[in-house]
Amino acid sequence: MAGVEIRDVRKAFGKTPVIHGVDIDIADGEFVVLVGPSGCGKSTLLRMIAGLEQITGGEIAIGGRVVNMVPPKERDVAMVFQNYALYPHMTVYDNMAFSLKLRRAPKSLVDERVRRAADILNLGEYLERYPRQLSGGQRQRVAMGRAIVRDPQVFLFDEPLSNLDAKLRVQMRTEIKELHQRLRTTTVYVTHDQIEAMTMADRIVVMHDGLVEQIGQPLDLYDEPNNLFVAGFIGSPAMNFIEGTLRRNGAAAAVEIGDGTRLPAPPVNGHADGAKVVYGIRPEHFAYGNNGGGLNAEVVVVEPTGTEIQVMSKLAGQDICAVFRERHDLTPGQTLGLSPALDKVHLFDAATGQHLRPPPST
C-alpha cells in the first residue's frame, strides 16, 4: 500500500488544456473521492494516475516513486471501470486470474487469491459463469474482485456505480466502503454523484473546469464551502443562493434583496457597505414560522418524501427551497414564514464567488 502525490499536474489534449495544475496529497490507506460535474477533468486525472493518459506537466508519485514515465502495468494499481470491462470470453474465474497469470504466478497462489476474493465478494458459486450470465451487481463485484486479487498499492474506481439502478447503487456503495475498511488499500474514486462522494469518502476533492475547488472531509465541505461552486455542488437539495447587496451597520450586517427585504447576515470581514454578495443558506437551515425577523415567502410546490417535506417557494422573485422534518400542512399560494439560522448563513462575493469569512474572533 502506498500514498499518491499529485503535484501541479497538467493535462492538455492537443492544444486544449483540460487540467490546469492540480495538487492533491493522498495518504496511505485513504479513501479519496474526486467529484465534479462532467468534463471537469476528474476521470482524466484518474487515468493519469493509472497511466492510461500521458501527463503533460507536473508529477504523480505512487508510494514515493514518480511514475510519470512508468507504464501502467508497473505502477501496481488496479482499476475498476464504469462499464466493468470484464473480458466477455473468459469465465469469472479467468477474469479474476488474468492479471496473476500474466505475471506467471504459481497456480496454487492464483487459485488461493481468486477464491479468497470470491469469498469476500460472495462470488463463490459464479466462478464458472461468463460475464454475460451475471447481473449488473454481480459484474460490478467481479470487476472489484479482479482488482482485489492483484493486491495492488492503489485502487482506482472510475464511476463504478453509474450503470446500476438506484437501489443497487446504494447497496454497492456500502459494499465498496466496507471493502475499503477491511482491506485499507489506498483508493481513488471518481464520481459525479455528490451523495456517493459524501457517503464514501475520507476526503473529497471537488473539481471544476480542470481545477481543484476544495479538498476536505465531507462534512467540512458541507459546512464550510470555500466558494459558490462547492456550496452549490455539495448537498441535496442544493443550497439556496439569493443575490443581494451587503448593508453594514457597524459589526452587524444584512443583505438587501430586490424588494428591499433585509436578510439577517453574519458579520463579515472587509467588504464595504453596498458590495454585491450572494446569500447562501441550505434548505434545512430554515426554521418554520416568522418568529423574530423571518421572511415571508410564497409557497409554490410542496413535496413530501415521508421523512421530510421539501417546500419550493418564491421570495422577491427568487426561488427558495426549504426542508422541514416536521409535517406542516402547506398549500401552494400560501405565505410561508422562514427564519434562517444565522450561524448557518454563508456570504459569497458575487464577483469572485469566494466565501466571505467572518472576522477572526478575538
Partner: protein, 314 residues
C-alpha cells in the same frame, strides 16, 4: 387576396383523413408483429414463394452442372431426341477422365495450397495492420486506413501487368509462389478494412483494463482482441479463401505449365480443345472444384453463428 379553393380540392381534402385513417389501420395491423403470417395463403405468398424462387435461381446452376457431368456424350450432344432436363443413362466416365487422364488432382492441390497460404498470409497481415490502425495512436492513422481502402478500389485487371513484371524479375513465374504472394495484394486491403470495423466494436476499456492488468500489446492482441474478433476473422477468412479459389486473371497470367495451374484456369484451358468443349468433363471439374468452398462455408457458418451469439457484449 384570399386564395379560392376549388371544390374538387375541398373534396380531396375531405377524403384525405379517410385515406390516412385506413393507412393508419394497416400500419396498426402490421404493428401486431408477424401475426399476419399465420394464415397459410398469406404465408405462402409472403414467405414460401419468394424463398422457392430464390432457391431455384441459386440451385439451378448446380443442378445443371451435376446433370451435365453425369450425362453420356450422346445425350449431351443430341438434345432433339433426349430430354435436356434429365439424364437417362448416367455415367461416371467424365469423372474418370478428369481424375485419371488429366492433371486434375494436382490442379486441385495447387488451388488448395495457393488459397490456404494466401489466406493465411493475408489474415495475419490484416490483423496486425487493422489493429495498429484502429488502436495505436499515431499521426496519420486515419489516412493509412483510407489509403488501404483506396488500394482495394484498384481493379486487379489493371495491376496484373506491373505485377507480372515483378513476378518475372523475382523468378517466380510459373510457380505457386507467384500466386501466393500476389493474391494478398487484393486480399489484404479488404480484410484489413473488414477487421478494422470489427476491432472498433471492441470496447476500448477492455484493452485498457488488460494494460493495467499487466498485458503487453501483443498479449492484448492475442488474448483479448483476437478471441473476441473470431467472427470477424472468420468472415475475412471466408472472403479471402473464396476469392483465391475463384481467382482467374493472375492464375492465367502467372502460370503456364499444366501441372501448376489452378482449377478455374485449368478447367478452361485444358478441357477445351480448340472449339471442342468437353462439357461433361468441364462440368465435372467445376462441380468438384466447388466442393471445398462449399465445405468451408458449411463448416464455418456454424462457427460463425455460434461466435456471433457470444459477441462482444457485456
Amino acid at each position: 387576396m384570399a386564395e379560392q379553393v376549388s371544390p374538387s380540392r375541398q373534396a380531396a381534402a375531405a377524403a384525405r383523413p379517410n385515406l390516412f385513417q385506413r393507412w393508419l389501420e394497416r400500419k396498426r395491423e402490421a404493428a401486431e408483429g408477424t401475426d399476419y403470417l399465420t394464415s397459410l395463403p398469406k404465408r405462402f405468398v409472403y414467405v414460401y414463394l419468394p424463398v422457392l424462387l430464390f432457391l431455384f435461381i441459386l440451385l439451378f446452376p448446380f443442378y445443371w452442372m451435376g446433370l451435365t457431368s453425369i450425362k453420356p456424350d450422346t445425350e449431351l450432344i443430341d438434345l432433339e431426341t433426349h430430354n435436356p432436363w434429365w439424364v437417362v443413362n448416367p455415367t461416371l466416365a467424365h469423372f474418370n477422365r478428369l481424375l485419371f487422364e488429366t492433371d486434375y488432382p494436382s490442379w486441385m492441390w495447387n488451388t488448395m495450397l495457393v488459397a490456404v497460404s494466401a489466406t493465411f498470409l493475408s489474415i495475419v497481415a490484416s490483423v496486425m495492420a487493422a489493429y495498429a490502425i484502429v488502436r495505436i495512436r499515431y499521426s496519420g492513422s486515419n489516412w493509412v486506413g483510407g489509403l488501404i481502402f483506396l488500394a482495394y478500389l484498384v481493379p486487379p485487371s489493371i495491376l496484373f501487368i506491373p505485377l507480372a513484371i515483378i513476378v518475372f524479375d523475382y523468378g517466380l513465374f510459373d510457380s505457386p509462389l507467384a500466386l501466393i504472394l500476389t493474391y494478398p495484394t487484393i486480399l489484404i486491403p479488404f480484410s484489413t478494412w473488414l477487421l478494422m470495423g470489427y476491432f472498433k466494436s471492441i470496447p476500448y476499456e477492455l484493452e485498457e483494463c488488460a494494460l493495467i492488468d499487466g498485458a503487453s500489446r501483443l498479449q492484448i492482441l492475442v488474448k483479448i482482441v483476437l478471441p473476441l474478433s473470431i467472427p470477424g476473422i472468420i468472415s475475412a477468412g471466408i472472403f479471402a479463401f473464396t476469392l483465391c479459389w475463384n481467382e482467374f486473371i493472375y492464375a492465367l497470367t502467372f502460370i503456364s505449365s499444366s501441372e501448376n495451374k489452378t482449377v478455374p484456369v485449368a478447367v478452361l484451358s485444358e478441357l477445351i480443345d480448340g472449339d471442342i468443349y468437353h462439357w461433361g468433363a468441364l462440368m465435372a471439374g467445376a462441380l468438384l472444384g466447388s466442393v471445398p468452398v462449399a465445405l468451408v462455408y458449411s463448416f464455418f457458418v456454424e462457427h460463425y453463428v455460434s461466435s456471433m451469439t457470444g459477441a462482444v457484449k457485456e
